[in-house]
Structure formats: C-alpha cells, structure tokens
Amino acid sequence: MIEVRDLRVRYGGRLVADVPELDVGAGECVAIVGESGSGKSTTLLSLLGLTPDAEISGQVRVCGVEVLTASPRRLREIRGARVALVMQSPQAALSPATRLGVLMRRALKLHGVGNGSAKGSAEIMAEAVAAVMLDPEILTRYPHEVSGGQAQRFALALAIALGAEVILADEPTSALDVTVQAEVVGVLRRLRAERGLALLLVSHDLALVSTIADRVLVMKDGAVVESGPAARVLAEPRHPYTRELLEAVLSVPGASL
C-alpha cells in the first residue's frame, strides 16, 4: 500500500528526512521510532503531500498514486478516502466549532461515500462509531466536550467510515492516559486484523511499538539508522542509537517492553 524509495525532504536546503526505503503492505504495521526532531513526522506527512514549504525528491507511491507527481485533485481524492491521518493532539485536530457528526458527514459527502443520501451516510456513520466502541451520541458533541481517547477513536471512526485502506498515525497515544492508550491501541489492532488495514505508526513509545509493529525504522537526525523486524530490532539492536533509545525506556521505573 505504501512504497517509498529515496525520499528526501528538505526545508530551505536543510535535509530533514532521508528515507531510502519504506514499504507497508495491507494488514501490516510498520513503526518509525526516534526522538522528536528526527524527521519521522515529516516523513509521515510527506506521504500525503502535506508538507508545505518543503522540497521533496524521490518516489512515493501510496495506494497506487504517485504522491509527488500527482495532481492536487488526485491527491485530495486519496486523502481521507483511502489514507487516513491520526494526529497527536486529539482535540486540537478537530475544528472547535464543528460537531463531530457534522465533520464526518461533510467528509463522507466530499468523497461521495453513502451515495450522498442522508440515510446511507447515517448508517455508515453509526457503524463506524460502533466499530471503535463509541456511543453514537458522540456525533452530536463538540470537540471540547469529548475526552482525548474519544477524540482519537473518533479519528479512527472517520477512517472506517471513509473506507480508508491505510492509516498514518502520528504519535496517536502520547497525549493520552495509560488506560486510554490501551483502548486506542486495541482499536488499532482490531482494525488491522479485521479489515486488513495497513498501519504506519510514528512514535517514540517503544512499549507501544513492541506490541503492535511488524517492522521498525529507527530515525535519527533525519536519517534511517536501523530497520528490520520489530522483534529483532528491539531484542538485538545493532545501531548504538537504537540501544540508547531502548536503555532510556528500560531505565524508567515501571516501564517495560
């Protein structure tokens, strides 16, 4: 679903992300780990063509679309409908004056899901919300009236309703409480298992990564320093930086992989 070759993202001449190879197939989960500023979020956003001001080179194919050369119109068609984005700060990602249901209905209408009929889209919305175990009543609420975990699950419901095949998640749990994190991770895992969604996860939370990812890319200062199967990379890190990251987690009391 995602094929990246020799992706280079520059801001004003400065190289912020250099990814020679990144593939995510249907039903697969790949995680990009690294500290903040390592270029992992930029990589993620460039997959949707959402990095304004950036100079990008290389080859990026998402859901069969060449993102770097696609027309704006073509890009807008895959955004949301086939590739969903889940952002870090859940409430800030939602427009404050728009009820969640209104946002979802507008998105459905935009992509022509539910054939534009009110009844069709209402059904789709109810199903999607139920699939992430939210009360349908959530659709009548404003962003400030829902919790972080609810907002994050709503973002996933958006992906389901629009029939996305790929989910790009940027630190989806880092703003949440531990118990709420577990809920969101649970939903992510089920989506992957039941619907065969491809999942590309950006995180600095190695505990999360170890429970869900098949493969891992470790990024530092814009470059990929190590990559491989999650079990191998986390158990026998080869690059000193990966070891550093792991040690940092292990030294935190109570943290475990």
Binding site: G49, L50, T51, P52, D53, A54, E55, I56, V67, L68, T69, S71, P72, L75, R76
Partner: protein, 296 residues
C-alpha cells in the same frame, strides 16, 4: 514536487492552481513610510515649497481652476489651494503629535501604575477607563468641542480626552504581564523601590506596542480632527486646515470641483500613510497578531 514558500495556510498542492496569481512582495509598510515622509517633509518645508504665502488673498484670482500658476486652483477668496494644503499639513500634523503625545503620556502613566500596582488602584483606574471607552471617540470629542471655544487647541484637548484610555488599557496589560516576570520579582526582593522598577523594567518593555499603537492611531486622529474642523468646531480662519477647507468649499463644490477635492485627498493620503505604516510596523514587530485595527 516543489512547493512555494507559502504562508501558514498554503499546502503544497496550492501552487499550480495559483500560478495565475503571482506572489507579490509585501511593500505595504514601505509604501506607507514613503508617503508619510513626503507628507511630513511637505509640511515642514511648506514656507519654501509653497508657491504663494499662507493665506495670501488675490481678489482678482478667485476660483481659478487648476493651471500652471495654481496647480490645485484657487478658492473663493483667491487663495492658492496648493499652498494652503501644504500649510494645512502643519496644522494636521501638529494636532496628531500633540494629541498622541498627551494621550500616550497620560495613558501610559496611568496604565503602568494600574498594571504594576494591581489591587483597588488598578480597579478604579480600569473602571474609569471603561467609561471613557464606552463613548465612540468622535462623539465625546464633539461634545467637548461644542462646549469649548473652537480652536486648534480645543481640538487637541477634545481628542486627547477620548484617546488616552486606549493607552492606559494597553500599558496596563503590558505592565501586568511584565510585573510577574522573574527578573522583576528578583528586583523587588532585593528591595528596589517600585518607581525605579517601573522606570527600569516596566516602561522600556511597554514601549514597543505603544509605538505601534501610536502610528496606528495617528490616522484616526487626523480623520477626527479634520471632521471637527469640518463641523466648524476646530481650526478657525485664518488657520489653514484641510477639514475647514472642505467645509468652506462645499457650497461651491458643484461648480468648482478643485476646492473640495484636493483638501480631501490630502486628508485621505495622510491618514492612509499612517494606517499603512502602523499596520506594517505591527506585522513586523508582532507577526502573530494579525488583528485589524481597533475602532475608535
């Protein structure tokens, strides 16, 4: 894909669609500055630039249309409109400087005291400020100008009375935020007396926004003073003043377009220059606050 260096809201895709709209460099503030320099210079140099002395009556040359001898024509008593406009600039700029000087000194002093001191003193000052701000400035100025003798000084007083509260409010919020900074705390703990803290730390830090506000306000003062003079409440003969020129020319306007058009344009250009410069300064000093200028 090479996206343009767009502002906050641009996305990479926006570029091809908007090719037909070339990006324009932001020369707004520069335009304002150039205009303002022209206006100020022409006012200062009026005695040398003006082809005719101020107020010189030429009974034989009444209401001449614009020509080589009289660029902007002559008025009903034969005065050269161009010369009168140059001298009128002195009146307008004097009023603007005087009003803003008085307002800023009074307003900032009260505001800094209110913001730094806090407590009941702050409450009293700010409530009084609220009352003054409850008037549209022009209205209170009107009322003031009516009860006093019409003159340039009356205009200054009448406008300054309505203008200082804006500076009080601005300075109070600045002072309040600065007063809580750690270095001010430190100074207080060291026993530095309050007036000294205000002088050394609070005032200098409040200056930038006040300066921006001053240049944003100058346009409004120019417009208000011209309006007062137009109503006959401000400058009187023989003072050259743009609003007064419009008032005196308006009955002749249908047959002599130049007697009203040029003084009005002078007001417009001057107010425009101040407004544009003020906006440019604000954007340069505080790019995040994109809010439009406050209505006075």
């Amino acid at each position: 894909m090479t996206a343009g260096k767009d502002g906050v809201m641009a996305s990479a895709e926006a570029v091809p669609l908007r090719r037909w709209l070339p990006r324009v460099p932001d020369r707004f503030a520069a335009l304002g500055a150039v205009l303002l320099v022209l206006v100020v210079l022409s006012a200062i140099l009026a005695p040398w630039l003006a082809p005719y002395p101020m107020g010189e009556l030429r009974p034989l040359e009444q209401l001449r249309p614009p020509s080589g001898a009289h660029w902007f024509g002559t008025d009903q008593v034969g005065r050269d409109v161009f010369s009168q406009i140059l001298y009128g600039g002195r009146t307008s700029l004097f009023i603007a400087v005087a009003v803003l000087g008085v307002s800023a000194v009074v307003g900032v002093t009260l505001g800094v005291v209110a913001g730094y001191a806090g407590g009941w003193l702050r409450d009293v000052i700010m409530r009084v400020t609220d009352v003054f701000l409850a008037f549209p400035a022009l209205l209170l100025s009107l009322a003031m100008a009516v009860v006093l003798q019409p003159s340039v000084n009356t205009v200054v007083l009448a406008i300054a009375v309505t203008w200082w509260p804006w500076y009080t409010r601005l300075a109070a919020s600045m002072a309040a935020s600065i007063a809580t900074r750690s270095y001010v705390d430190a100074a207080r703990c060291l026993g530095v007396p309050a007036p000294l803290i205000i002088l050394r730390h609070v005032l200098p830090n409040s200056l930038t926004p006040v300066l921006v506000q001053l240049s944003l306000d100058a346009g409004g003062v120019i417009l208000t003073s011209a309006a007062l003079s137009y109503l006959g409440l401000g400058a009187q003969e023989p003072t050259a003043e743009w609003g007064l020129m419009v008032q005196q020319g308006q009955t002749l306007f249908t047959t002599n377009w130049w007697v009203v058009t040029f003084p009005g344009l002078a007001i417009l250009v001057t107010a425009f220059a101040f407004n544009v410069l003020g906006e440019g300064l604000r954007n340069a000093l505080d790019p995040r606050s994109g809010t439009a200028r406050v209505v006075k």
